[in-house]
Amino acid sequence: MSTPETVKLTIDGREVEVPKGTGLVETAAFAGVEIPVFCYEPRLGPPVGACRMCLVEVDGIPKLQAGCTLTAQDGMVVRTAAESEKAAEGQNATLEFILVNHPLDCPVCDKGGECPLQDLTFRYGPGQTRMTFPKRTFDKPIPISPTIALDRERCILCYRCTRFSESVAEDGQLVARNRGAMSMITTFENEPYRAPFSGNVIELCPVGALTSTQYRFEARPWEIQNVPTVCGLCPVGCNISATTREGKVKRILSRNHPEVDMGWLCDKGRFAYPHLYAEDRIATPLERVRRRGFGEISWDDALDRAEALLRGAGGRIVTALSGSETVEQAYALGRLLREGLGAHSAVLPEATSSALDAFRAPLSTIGHAKLVAVIGEERVADRAPIVELWIKQARRNGGEVIEQAEATLDPELESRLRASDSAVLIWSGRGGGGGARLAELAHSLGFDGKPGCAAFQLPATPNGRGVAEAWAAAADGDEENPEPIGLLIVSGDEAASDPAVRALAEKAEHVIALTMYQGLALGWADLVLPGTSYLERDGSFVNLEGRVQRLRRSVIPPVPDELAWISKLAERFGVELSPHASLVFAELSGRVATTLSFGEVGERAPLAARTPYEAPAPASSPASPPAADTPEHFLGNLRLLRYRPLFSGPAVERVPELRFQRPAAEVELAYDDAQRRQIANGDPVTVRSNGTSVELLARVSRALTAGTVRVAEEHAADLHRDVEVVRSP
């Protein structure tokens, strides 16, 4: 007997009971019956019923129905191809029509072996072709971007890709042109599909029409392994599968954590894996040698040298962390340096805090929030791209999204947030004490105890909080800020490429750098120890939700894992440390964001429950390095926002296919400011601040607030905060 919340129906003679509102395709799956689909994808919005693959017979309705458009109703009797000749004929017809113009590309098509069209043709389609006319042809494949290839002949016009571009990423770049049998997928004027989420269309495409250029001809599905792990390039921590073949990573796929990423990836996480194989990757330890520059040394020698440097620093040791180390790595470094050497000083690019644990919730909460307030000057898509997709979804679901640069909320917004039971605060900018300020705000708005109300701070590092907490857990003891610094330990590529850390290194007597790439630390480090990538490590990360997620090593790195040599080095200082991530995690469990064991974290990690709000203690986390800006006397009329674009960083810089996504040498100007200065879109301009200037191209934006300009960090050189912009002569 069905309840008010469920419905009971029959599919192919099987009775099934499902919650009201369940779609028929899911209902059938629940009953163990397949309704084949192509265009149906709930994440793209309401079903469209376009491809006609899902035709089923419903008692009482003479015409075949598109199953994907139907919702399970009480007493419905459905027969699929398995039980209905009419439905089988309909599905067979659909496949015949699709194949009529589909090229016989299987032997050379990357999708072969993991292709829904192949699979469904086997199960429901005709065994032979009756098509004797020339099939429609196109030039193929066409690169619609350096990362995506389009084969219009293979395209079955299911419109999944265009619906993604329009209704999920909302970038409006991938569209359908013409009508009827002349329809084709294209971008505007053959311009590349340049958007942070473009790669998702590769996974969405049910045939080999949209394929990855990186993966072209690289492997067949039966030759690969998909290792479940988590992306380590931003604080979202999308769940991914690393496809490996013969010990090398060949591509990254989404693994779909419904609460975190909904099955989407940004192009950085998807396409940046070639950074593992960059030409300037360091394979052995390197030591600075006078006159010769750098020389390779053995690991034994390297550890000896490291020990000597550590002992020789007289306790005046500072560690510069990247925030992209695993929790275990940071803990191991902490044990070595703090316990073994009493060197408690560390710097991180940003402050971190656990204060937001009182208001934590899955990112999916944003997607159905009624009110979302995004505060801060940095674009969400640059810091935590998938969060931008959640925000867009909130808007599509009828929620209101308010974006403002200023940190203080006006009283009207405050009262609306206070009154709501479904509101989300998002802090996307610098400062804020790692979320402590946001937590204060959330607390003052009464978010405590309201599961629909949540607050997220978007960090600048992928695992800053995990690193900070692991470092703190490694020992007791206070920071000293030694002056001058005897030894600076630079951990990770991000730290090695940070100008603030570089400034510290210049003042330090000696430097040890842990880095993957030659270009970063050679020239100013005394000893360089080769590092690994997140794709090569076992370990855990804490994402911006406060969710602990587990990284799994997908390929064996060409250099030892950090835990392996840190534990060896630690031995020399009397610190016992396991080289195995799982054991290190066990030591830490309960002290870093979760009480779960390593095994319990699992493949789709759960989010721990909220903890009661505690006003955070002041200065409980490593300090940020001193700011690079100095007060200026020149008063320009415009305020410069330097931002770190999504497609930046040592990994991205080493992937040529992603170069086109990196920001051009541009300055973004508000429309009114441009008008007043008679600057048109694309004009060459000079951006001046006290004592320095930069030549850039103007990009006029109607969305930017007047009085501000935006320049990507890598193009902003030494510009100060107040600038003036004039047309170049």
């Binding site: 017809a93 113009n101 006319f133 429609r136 079955i156 419109y159």
Partner: protein, 440 residues
Amino acid sequence: MPARSIVLAGADERDLTKFDEYRAAGGFSALAKARAMEPQAVIDEVLASSLRGRGGAFFATGRKASFIPKPDQTPKPIYLVINADESEPGTFKDREIMLRVPHRFLEGALITAHAIQSKNVFIYIRGEYLAEFEVLRAALDEIRAADLLAGVTVVLHRGAGAYICGEETALLESLEGKRGQPRSKPPFPAISGVYASPTLVNNVETIATVTPIIEMGGAEYAKIGPQDSTGSRVFSLSGNVANGGNYELENGTTLRELIYDFGGGIPNGRELKAVIPGGSSVPVLTPDQIDTPLSYDALAEAGTMFGSGAIIVIDDRACMVQLGLRVAQFYMHESCGKCTPCREGTRWMVQILHKIEDGDASQADLDLLLDVCDRILGKCLCPLGDAAAMPVASYIDRFRDEFQAHLDGGCPMDGASSLDNLFAPVDQHHHDPVPDGAPA
């Protein structure tokens, strides 16, 4: 049966494009009458008239209006959208209505808006009808100046050349500024139409008929014509007939009466060969069937459909294979491309028909064509697929010998057909070379 002037009443005697003439002839009295009635009462009059949609679907108009939620049942605005996208081959009656009795038509729009309590009317008029748009715009300005709008906004929205936008959900998509591809139903426009709001979509002639219905009363209107198709219809007559044109006749008039009594019969000493009774989307009839009354049930019984009310007369100079090809080319050109069977199937039909017309086809090809039509039928997202498959299948069914003769060596008319070597729009796409078997 005599002509019956209801929608076009008075248009021969006076110039009803002039506001004052229309008013003098009794215009806008129905509007005043309707506005003095409760909205539901207006719907009841339409229900009483048994008026059925004149666009082609022939759905009971009063019933369709009663599906619209009342204002207290929905937080969204209620919209009336009028389908003036008339593009069904053979049909030109809405054009005549808008050209000759624009105020009567607009009056019907305002009456209907009152009936469903809508303050927002869109008229989607096919882009090619420029003159008609100008006439409507002038008439609307006059109505506005005469203060007859009563707070109702009427927007004239021009289409841009796409037959599929005559399908009501595709029209709504186009009105929303998108590619005009139909939507799955449910949800129906009455619940979620334009801007996801309750929307009533009606054809021009339907709306224009509402005015006289309110004038004379629904029950009076229901006395006219057969019960399954009350009232009159403006029939579009064209093809191999002496006097092509629009004729408003009582429903139930026979094809013979229309073609011979009003249309003047077949000119040039030719013989009648076939009749398409409801626009190109309906199955063809043969000369032995021309005593069929022009009504919904009678035509259904005869194996065809009332359709858009367009009667195309075909004489013995026309090759039915070439007709099939031309019709298939139309649907291939107009297919929106959303659903697989229509998009791929109409093109395949054209390819096979070319082969048959060229004399290169075998029996298997003819069987294949019938099977392709069958595989399209009933499987598509919207009626366009059926509209391609059904007529072509009917030509093969009713003129089998002619198709067989082509298999045995090409068109027996050997170049003398009126439809010989016809150049269709699909043959001139130059931005995408599509080898579809068309002769170079």
